[in-house]
């Protein structure tokens, strides 16, 4: 529901850019949740800002920490740790919210810290291995290796809007 909300007089948002680049490389913004590194496509990122608190939304999913007003746009903030079923984050001013856009909707991802911007050749993106006949992990596109650490590439569209089976249970957008 929140994902479908739209502020009409802010029309500068472009659609999702294709990940294709002429030089066969792709850039990611990497960040940390606990000890684990994750990354998202840099083209989906709109802004990175420090945690300044949110306005709570009653009767919403546990991983929705509330909403923030981003220059007139109301943006929901997702607690990524909670979304991955690892408990609630206790945010401090050193925590960071990464604002991403999926289609026309923007969402904030609450993470422990932003590490870097990494550039990876497209061919180096590895697929998620299948484990004992389970379905493919719905939150990730693939795995990326950078500076000796393995990072999971988050599939934003599924993370935000898709109904997902797993520890995080159902999402609101059916």
């Amino acid at each position: 529901m929140i994902g479908k909300r739209r502020i009409t007089d802010y029309d500068e948002l472009p659609g999702p850019t294709p990940v294709m680049e002429d030089s066969d490389v792709q850039q990611f913004v990497s960040f940390m949740v606990g000890d684990q590194h994750y990354c998202v496509d840099i083209m989906a990122v709109r802004e990175i800002k420090a945690w300044t608190g949110t306005t709570g939304l009653p009767n919403s999913q546990a991983y929705i920490r509330g909403v923030i007003n981003l220059r007139g746009t109301i943006v929901p903030v997702i607690d990524l740790r909670m979304r991955f079923g690892q408990g609630l984050t206790e945010p401090t001013p050193a925590h960071v919210v990464v604002i991403v856009a999926v289609g026309e909707a923007q969402s904030g991802l609450l993470v422990d810290g932003v590490s870097d911007i990494v550039t990876v050749p497209r061919k180096d993106i590895a697929a998620i291995p299948d484990l004992e006949g389970e379905e493919r992990n719905p939150f990730f596109h693939g795995l990326v290796t950078s500076q000796n650490s393995l990072m999971a590439v988050i599939a934003l569209d599924r993370l935000i809007s898709q109904r997902v089976t797993g520890p995080a249970s159902t999402s609101a957008a059916a």
Binding site: V45, R46, I48, A94
Partner: protein, 875 residues
Amino acid sequence: MFNPLDHIKIGKRISLLVLAPAIGLGILAATYLSGDRAVEMAFQDNQRSVRLSDLVAELRVKASEVARREKDFLLRNDDRSVEQSKAATDLIAVMLNVIGENKSISDLAAPTGRLKELLAAYQKQFGDVVAEQRNQSRGGRKGVLARLELNLDDAVASVGFYSLTAKVLAARAAAKDFRQREYQQGENQTPAELKAMERRFIALLDRMDSDIAGAAATYTLSASDKDRILKLVKDYREANVAWFAGDRSFLGNVKKLADLASEMDPVFVKIETIADEAQARSARTLTEAREHTRRIWVASLTALLGVILLFGFMVGRSIIRPVKAITGVFEKVAAGHQNVAIPSQERRDEIGQLARILASFHQSTTQAVRTQSALDVASAPFMLVAPEGTIIAINKAAQEMFRLAEADIQAVIPQFSAEALVGSWIMVFGGVLAEAKPEATQHDRMVIGARTFDIVMTPVLNGLGERLGTSIEWKDMTDQLATERQVATIVDAAREGDFTKRIPVSDKSGFMLDLSKGMNDITETVDRGLSETVRMMSALARGDLSQRVAGEFKGSFLQLKTDANTMADKIRAIARRISGVSGEVQGATREIASGVADLSARTEHQASSLEETSASMEQLATTVRQNAGNAQEANQLAAAASVSATNGGDIANRAVTAMGRIEDSSRQITDIVGLIQDIAFQTNLLALNAAVEAARAGEAGKGFAVVANEVRALAQRAGQASKDIKGLIVNSDTQVREGVTLVKQAGSSLTEIVASVKKVATLVSEIAAATQEQSSGIEQVSKAVTGMDQMTQQNAALVEETNAALQSAQSQVDELRNVVAFFKTGNETMAEEHRPEGQPELNPVRQQFQALARKVAGGRAVGAAAAAPDNWKEF
């Protein structure tokens, strides 16, 4: 105990004994009659309640008959049952009136009234049911229904259509079946079920109606036939409905009747219960009344029996007890007892009279016995002789006298016997008493063999002057005369100076014995007194002071004995005293000598001890002076330590303050570093955003992206550096805090040291002052020791002089003792003790001096003091 019966004559008492039970029996009879009447009343009451119970039982029988008649009527529908029911109901009403009029049981009025009402309602209801039944029967609606069926059959038959006929017959059969079977089965059904049944019946009739109407329309019928048949069908339908309604109301009435009957039932039961209870109550009352009467009867009988027994016992006792008492008294009086108290004299009955007579009789006998006894106990021998010369009586004294003299008298008069005197003739004594009939009192002396008797004869006359006999008083004079002769012999010997003679006393008695003994005692006393005095005097002349005059003396002899003994005592006391004094003097000089020797030894010992003491005092004084110097030095050192410790405390306080300032500074630095860290974080974010924007700008933003990367690296380094600084500051802060704690502890330790040092200084100065005092004290002790030394020297000189004086005193005492030894006082061992015991003891003082010299030479002067006699105390 006072008994009121005592004053009533015995005859009257016995009549009372008979009269009392008669009165008791009368009272008993009256009680029995009254009790019997109460029982009779209770019995009648019980009979009445039994009759009532029977009536109620019959009522119940009649009620069940009414119920039976009702069922009979419903089953058979005959008039006889109706009549019988009415008759039974009327009978019940009459019975109820009878029961209701029972006055004794008030509870019955309410239920009987209620039952009467219910009975009236029942009768009315029963009438309704009967009427309804008749209305419904063949004479009423059932008849109408039958006629209509016949008419319908005829009408249909006249038309001649068989199929129509069949239809009508089928419809009729259906209606009849319903009435007969289904409806009869539903007699006990609820109103709702009845209603449903009625609806089914109406539906049946409607179907029949429409069937017949349809059939009539199918066939070609004349209009009139058609109308007639349809009308008949319609009538038949209505008749059916009417019958059904009538039947339903009949059933309702029957149900009401049953309800009324069941309503009556508990009332019957109640009446029955009340009647039964009343019967039980009256039966109980009857039993109780009988029991009560029996109890009263038994109790009064027992009481009467008790009264008769008690009364009989009292009367019997009032006769038997005094009779027994007076019988005992009679026995005592007969046995000759004199002091007998005669009871019951105050009684007014026959026993009182008897007692009074006995009392007067007892008084006269007592008088005679007294006279007899007085003569018996008189000490003078006495004899009563009858006028014709027979001895009538002799008293105990005379009997005794003749018994003693019997042997002497028999020597002259052989036939004489002291035992057989009473009754023998007076002539047994010979001529002097031949007549024994003097006209007046006559004195005589009579000699019978060795015995001499004085006799006094006196005539005994009664009040009329008649001679009753002669009384003879006897006196045995034999012993008296013999004694007088012996006394004369003794007195003659005493006159010659011979006090050794005595009078024999073995054959004497009475006054003669006393006289002889007195004479003997006089000569004995004189003889004993003189010989004792002579013995003592001759011993005194020999120098023996131990002899004394011994024995019991009186008068002049006592005086002589006392004076002689006093003289001997005085002489002996003087001799002893001289002896004792000389002994004491000797002992005293010996003790003095030993004392002086001891004193000499001590004086010597004292002198050497004093010398040692003086040396020790000198050493002590030196030590004390040294102590004083040390204490002074310690005092100064303590003061210096105190000042140093105070300074240390101040320095510690300053260090604490400095540490506090360092803490403040590091806190400020921490704040600044935090700010730097924050700025670095924000810068990093900004650079990241810039990088994102550059990436989104594609090829155009590539240069910008490089710059953004550089900025990000700078920001990260700044953040890392500030983080390091922060860690360092936190570290130093912890160390500073530890330093502060340590310095504070050092400060408090220093404060404690200051306090301790001050205490030490005080103690040391006190020690210094004490040492000073000790020093002066020792000085004084030294002076005292010197004085004591001089005194000891003087003492030694005095002891020498004393010893010389003692020597001369001892020799003089020995001489005195030799002089006194002449007298034998009978206690010589005492004097011996004080005698000197040979040469070694003669000069004990010198001996002790020698011992002392040996001991001093051995250096064990203290041992001498322990060897000294007890009466000399150590100093």
